[in-house]
Symmetry: none
Subunit: 300 residues, 2 copies
């Protein structure tokens, strides 16, 4: 009852990656014979065949596929743990892996990261945007250490703190009839082309908080990956978009765009930072939260 070792997972991953025992052996700085032996013993101990031997190639069985999934999940965590221990050894602080679930958060995040990096020279920051099981899953799975999201989830081992309030607005180009209007009603978008980031509709505030409740849909819906292009499209009259007010106002110098309040009361949003509560006292992590919160004032 303690058969599976790290080296086994390492072998399984290498065989999958490099396609053969021989190639894997090369990469692992071992001989083909060594792997063959190890594999055979492992299969014996587990009582499971991991690969089907077909001619001169190996194909993972169901158990093999499962083991591969385990390897791909656990090995990165072990690697990360060692890296972190290396940082301990060198007296450094560590790496802060930040995950983001909202597109425009990126612009905001950049403003925080720059001063943070100078204040904490020993901390490396990494930003990730894609998660297999969602941002929360990435936090739990130790893929990231901090999550930037507009949708906090108060749950068992996680802590979320609001760090930034902003207003979500409609962005219109020059000469647009809504430009300068005190606010826009949902029905007024029924004939518009709406440009959004390419994500599910239920993750877009302009739908969930504005259009959908009113039962309105825009005439066309156009997904665009990047904020810059999105603003260019709006500036050239190809459609309207929805972004944070501060972002629009900041970019108004570069693009001919203007913000219009969504509905009579506007759409208020918050950005939250989430982290594992066991790490809440890590000073370099706390510091990031503090800096994010402090930065709020500078913009409003």
């Amino acid at each position: 009852m303690a058969i599976l070792e790290r080296s086994h997972l390492e072998i399984i991953r290498a065989v999958d990656r490099y396609g053969s025992l021989t190639a894997a052996a090369e990469k692992l700085h071992l001989t083909q014979s060594a792997l063959s032996h190890t594999v055979r013993k492992l299969e014996d101990l587990l009582g499971v065949t991991i690969w089907r031997r077909e001619g001169r190639s190996l194909h993972p069985t169901q158990a093999g596929e499962y083991l591969l999934a385990v390897a791909n999940r656990l090995l990165p965590q072990l690697d990360h743990a060692e890296e972190r221990l290396g940082q301990f050894a060198r007296g450094e602080r560590g790496g802060l892996r930040i995950g983001m679930e909202c597109h425009p958060c990126y612009q905001w995040l950049l403003k925080i990261v720059a001063p943070y990096l100078t204040a904490w020279p020993a901390v490396d920051v990494d930003v990730k945007q894609k998660f297999q099981f969602g941002g929360i899953g990435a936090l739990f799975g130790y893929e990231i250490d901090m999550l930037v999201t507009p949708d906090p989830l108060y749950k068992n081992g996680l802590t979320f703190e609001p760090v930034f309030d902003y207003e979500q607005v409609l962005v219109v180009g020059p000469g647009h009839p809504l430009r300068g209007a005190p606010y826009v009603k949902p029905a007024q978008l029924a004939n518009e082309t709406l440009i959004t980031y390419p994500v599910a509709l239920d993750r877009l505030d302009i739908y969930t908080q504005f259009l959908t409740p009113a039962g309105i849909a825009p005439k066309r819906h156009k997904p665009i990956e990047t904020t810059d292009i999105m603003l260019q499209m709006v500036a050239s009259g190809r459609g309207v978009a929805s972004l944070p007010r501060w972002l629009v106002e900041e970019q108004a110098e570069r693009f001919e765009v203007a913000a219009v309040q969504l509905g009579r009361h506007g759409v208020a949003k918050q950005i939250f930072l989430g982290y594992r509560e066991t790490e809440g006292q890590l000073d370099y992590l706390r510091a990031f939260v503090e800096m994010a919160r402090a930065n709020q004032g500078s913009r409003r």
Copy 2:
């Protein structure tokens, strides 16, 4: 760069749990000396002290706390993985990909799958119907694990077992002249519209075993995808079809259809289950065959 082994995490967790190296050694069935050696080497390799030695007790350093957290997170996952592999080994778990080569088999299969899923909760069942190189090829190519077919092929690595006998009959609608006849002769179909599944004629029993030997062809031939629509067409007098007797009798409640024997002696058919003979002892696979065979009695 692959220092941390599972055993190390195991030690770290045990020391934390049982309070001392000596106690941990006992639980791990090792000597105290062995642990001491291992620990020292680990600390050297990582370049980190894991425990502060105070008097005769050990207190985890910051790195130690971190490692403990890693151990408590990863070890249960490894344990769980081994447990799951044990299920694979004992044939309790797996994925059963069932391929089907005959259309009406589907109705029959559904009756087997339902109880099977409750009896084998750890087995995932998947049903496929299209194969690039035929059902046999799919078995050999590991696209599927079990084939449901009326045409067994006794060959090298495959095993086929008959699990269900049935009679193929003609289906006629209400008011059809053949209704109630003791049997139908091929020539009597020369003026009929024959409705079949959209497959090659040589895979349709009514052709291979009834019409073709007599040199007869129906007036029209109409391919229909689904059994339900086929029965509706027959019930509304648009043509006749050919299906298993048990299926017709079962559906007689829903549709106004009746079965007529094909020819003086009827057309007898069997459904076979085929699988790779190397997997014949897999418990969950055997169980499926048994359940399929047992189900036979309930219907006839």
